[in-house]
């Protein structure tokens, strides 16, 4: 099944790698937030139809974090860099304005 992932606040020319259960699913370079829409990048990821592990690596910041997700409960994932770590939110919808 598919989930929506958005990279939101705090990115500034960063490299971002996302892994689903250890397999690379997204790679972004020079990822930069436009603050007025809180948006840096977004993608749809093919994930298992069961709880899985989402790993996010931001090598340009030395940040690597892991999130355990249930795709049915959290079909939308918003990731922001704040104070040197990744913060995940699970909004009802991903839309920007």
């Amino acid at each position: 099944m598919l989930i929506n992932v958005a990279l939101q606040d705090g990115f500034d020319r960063d490299a971002v790698v996302i892994l689903v259960d250890g397999a690379e699913a997204y790679r972004g370079e020079e990822v930069t937030t436009r603050t007025q829409i809180s948006h840096a990048a977004d993608t749809q990821l093919e994930v298992p139809d069961r709880p899985f592990t989402l790993e996010v690596d931001v090598p340009t910041r030395g940040v690597h974090q892991t999130f355990e997700l249930d795709p049915h409960a959290n079909p939308n994932v918003a990731l922001s860099l704040r104070d040197g770590s990744l913060v995940a939110a699970y909004p009802e919808q991903l839309g920007f304005a």
Binding site: D9, T35, Q36, S38, L94, G95, A97
Partner: protein
């Protein structure tokens, strides 16, 4: 033009009503005649400029130097129990203050001043006591404010009501051809809403009117575009320049709101304040009526009303960005004007409805079509330059809007460089030249030091970064030298923009926007923004060397023309000369290293007997070995990189010092090179003034006797 305001003009038919004001009956009922909130002012204070600012009236007959307004915010809609004030004047003299109030009696409040911006040293007060004088007629309303604390004598000022609104702003709503969306909404059309919400037809102007703004609107126009057109930010910016009737490259209380079909990025973008392009941000916003904001949940109870409400929310949300409001969850990010807390659950226009706990249904169940209190405080009471469209860049809080610029300026300030394109090599110091011209038809008196770095206000803004003010190394305390500037006449100056006490603000690769203000009497003469670009490093070696170069001490060497004492910084410059001889930074380094060797160098040294003056002899031969490859062998490049003003000044200085040290040959070579180089240069079709060449020739005669060079110069032809 249509006007929306807070409706106190119901009591004063001679004012706003004549200009087409549309009082809102319900708001008038809410306000009632007892309301005292609004904008108050006093006539300009008279008095001579001085530091600190004299806050009491000076003898009559002296021309006005300051205006003063206060904003009292204690009743009406969403009172913030705040009073704020601005004492106007030139940039260097302006003060903005804010106090939190508590009620202490009928129409009486008192509180502490918690925010000061600007020349705070001239405004020592820490507390205020406010008494409102209510009158049935607006023209009779006033507030008396007593300032106290801070060790200063109490100051009491009476201000008269100017307006029931805190700000005045103009909106223009334009539509892509074929796109239709209302700028108003029926608040009870959708069943998911607060039970207490008043059912009404609410317009976008009325939302901002309730924030404390008097709103005027321009007639809408249509932006021709085929159906299905998607828009990039640049295309919308172009459309704004073409279709917005108030488009101008200035800060103004006005914005353009564009109703378009879709953004080129797709339907996931509901709207955007797209205008972070160029020097005047936050003037243009757009909403995309066919994006996700037109896609209600499948089970929604009133899909049409849901769409109307989301479009309305989006439009106001983007307009909030144009007022420099961040998203509710971003309040603590960037450079907030005061420390702010994030408001992730706020029922504000600046929050995403679907981001809160419980989602959009929970949001709209408690949404009252308003902004949060801290957003209202910002809109109503923050320094104007932070809020006004086209002023401070998006997400930061610096700018020049509040410059005391006259309506009909009589002076013009230009920033320029002596090269075809304002592009700089990595590590190359940026010397900017300034030209201040009397554009009136009358002579003007100016201070001869007006273009010294410490007399100017220079703002440096790198793309994507907050603006910074240049803080020069040298603070001169000099007696003003009055100079007569005839009609059309100019004076010139040069300033190192790269570095100051703030550090190296113009050094990293990228695009910079620079703006300067010269202070002439009580006016700020503001330059047009100047854009320059710094190229990336061409090697890893340069990248590493930059870490050593971009220090305070090396910057001091470049500004002051070298030192024999700052050994570490001198080592860095020597390394630059050796490793990067063909790069422009080497020219600057050579001058800074050679110049101190051209004169007897006096240094106080500590001995067992106390301090002694140690005088090192001039070393003209060693100096020439360093300087000649820059000022003579690569003279044209040096003139371009140092700028004509700096190049000339250094050349004359070095030549005079060579001569004083008995090195006439070196002196002659240096000054001849300057004459020949500057006489031949015509950057941007601007030849060097003949007067400059003549003055250099006089210097040559002084340092080396009659000129033997036979080459015919262009200056003779011009003369």
């Amino acid at each position: 033009m249509k006007t929306y305001d807070e409706g106190l003009d119901l009591l004063d038919v001679d004012t706003e009503a004549e200009e087409g004001a549309i009082p809102d009956a319900e708001d008038a009922a809410v306000l009632t005649v007892s309301r005292v909130s609004g904008l108050y002012g006093r006539p300009p204070i008279t008095g001579p400029l001085a530091v600190p600012v004299p806050l009491e009236p000076a003898p009559a007959g002296v021309r006005p130097v300051r205006r003063e307004v206060v904003r009292l915010d204690v009743d009406g809609r969403y009172p913030q129990m705040t009073v704020s004030g601005t004492i106007g004047g030139s940039l260097a003299m302006r003060v903005h203050w804010i106090a939190q109030l508590a009620t202490i009696g009928t129409n009486q409040w008192a509180g502490t001043i918690w925010y000061k911006d600007g020349a705070a040293a001239s405004f020592p007060y820490t507390r205020v006591r406010v008494t409102a004088n209510h009158s049935r007629f607006p023209s009779g309303r006033s507030v008396k404010i007593t300032f106290s604390g801070g060790g200063a004598t109490k100051r009491t000022v009476v201000y008269k009501l100017l307006s029931p609104n805190f700000r005045t702003v103009n909106f223009e709503f334009d539509f892509q051809a074929g796109e239709v969306a209302d700028t108003e909404i029926e608040t009870c059309a959708h069943p998911v809403r607060p039970a207490s919400l008043a059912c009404e037809t609410l317009s976008i102007p009325k939302v901002f009117q309730r924030m404390g703004c008097q709103v005027t609107t321009n007639p809408s126009s249509t932006v021709p575009a085929p159906p299905g057109t998607t828009w990039s930010d640049t295309e919308m910016h172009d459309a704004m320049q073409t279709h917005w009737s108030l488009n101008a490259s200035i800060a103004q209380w006005a914005m353009w709101v564009f109703y378009a079909s879709l953004h080129e990025s797709g339907n996931g973008l509901g709207g955007i304040m797209f205008d972070d392009i160029g020097p005047n941000h936050r003037q243009g916003t757009a909403l995309f009526v066919d994006s996700f904001i037109a896609q209600p949940p499948a089970n929604d109870l009133n899909k049409a009303a849901w769409i109307d409400r989301m479009r309305f929310w989006t439009a106001v949300h983007e307009m909030g960005h144009a007022f420099n409001l961040a998203h509710s969850w971003q309040k603590s990010l960037g450079t907030p004007w005061v420390p702010l807390a994030d408001e992730t659950e706020a029922r504000s226009f600046m929050n995403y409805p679907y981001n809160v706990a419980g989602g959009q249904a929970a949001f709209f169940s408690n949404f009252e079509y308003r902004f949060s209190d801290q957003e209202l405080l910002f809109i109503r009471h923050a320094p104007e330059r932070f809020v006004q469209m086209g002023n401070a860049a998006w997400f930061d809080h610096h700018g020049f809007e509040e410059a005391a610029a006259p309506d009909e300026p009589t002076m013009k300030l230009e920033l320029r460089v002596n090269r075809e394109q304002a592009r700089y090599e990595f590590m190359e110091p940026v010397w900017l030249e300034l030209k201040l011209t009397n554009t009136s038809d009358q002579p003007r008196l100016v201070d001869g030091n007006v273009l010294d770095a410490n007399s100017l206000t220079v703002i440096l803004k790198k793309d994507g970064k907050e603006a910074r003010q240049l803080v020069p190394f040298r603070q001169k305390c000099v007696q003003p030298v009055t100079r007569v500037l005839l009609a059309g006449e100019s004076i010139y100056g040069a300033v190192l923009a790269s570095a100051g006490l703030n550090g190296w603000d113009v050094a990293e690769p990228g695009t910079y926007l620079i703006q300067a203000a010269a202070h002439v009497d009580d006016e700020d003469v503001v330059s047009t923004p100047f854009v320059l670009r710094i190229a990336p490093p061409v090697s890893r070696e340069e990248e590493y060397a930059a870490g050593d170069l971009f220090t305070q001490d090396t910057a001091r060497l470049l500004v002051f023309g070298g030192s024999r004492v700052l050994d570490r910084a001198n080592d860095v410059l020597h390394e630059v000369v050796e490793r990067f001889p063909e790069r422009r930074i080497a020219l600057h380094a050579r001058v800074a290293l050679g110049n101190p060797l051209t004169l007897e160098y006096k240094q106080l040294v500590s001995t067992d007997d106390g301090l002694e003056l140690d005088i090192a002899p001039a070393q003209p031969e060693e100096a020439a070995e360093l300087i000649d490859p820059a000022l003579v062998e690569r003279a044209n490049l040096a003139a371009e990189s140092l700028g004509h003003i700096r190049y000339r000044a250094i050349s004359e200085l070095v030549a005079r010092r060579f001569a004083a040290a008995g090195a006439e040959t070196e002196a002659t070579r240096t000054i001849d090179s300057a004459i020949e180089t500057l006489d031949a240069r015509i950057p941007d079709d601007r030849p060097v003034k003949a007067q400059v060449i003549e003055q250099l020739a006089e210097t040559r005669e002084a340092v080396a006797g009659p000129k033997t060079q036979t080459k015919k110069t262009r200056s003779k032809a011009r003369a």
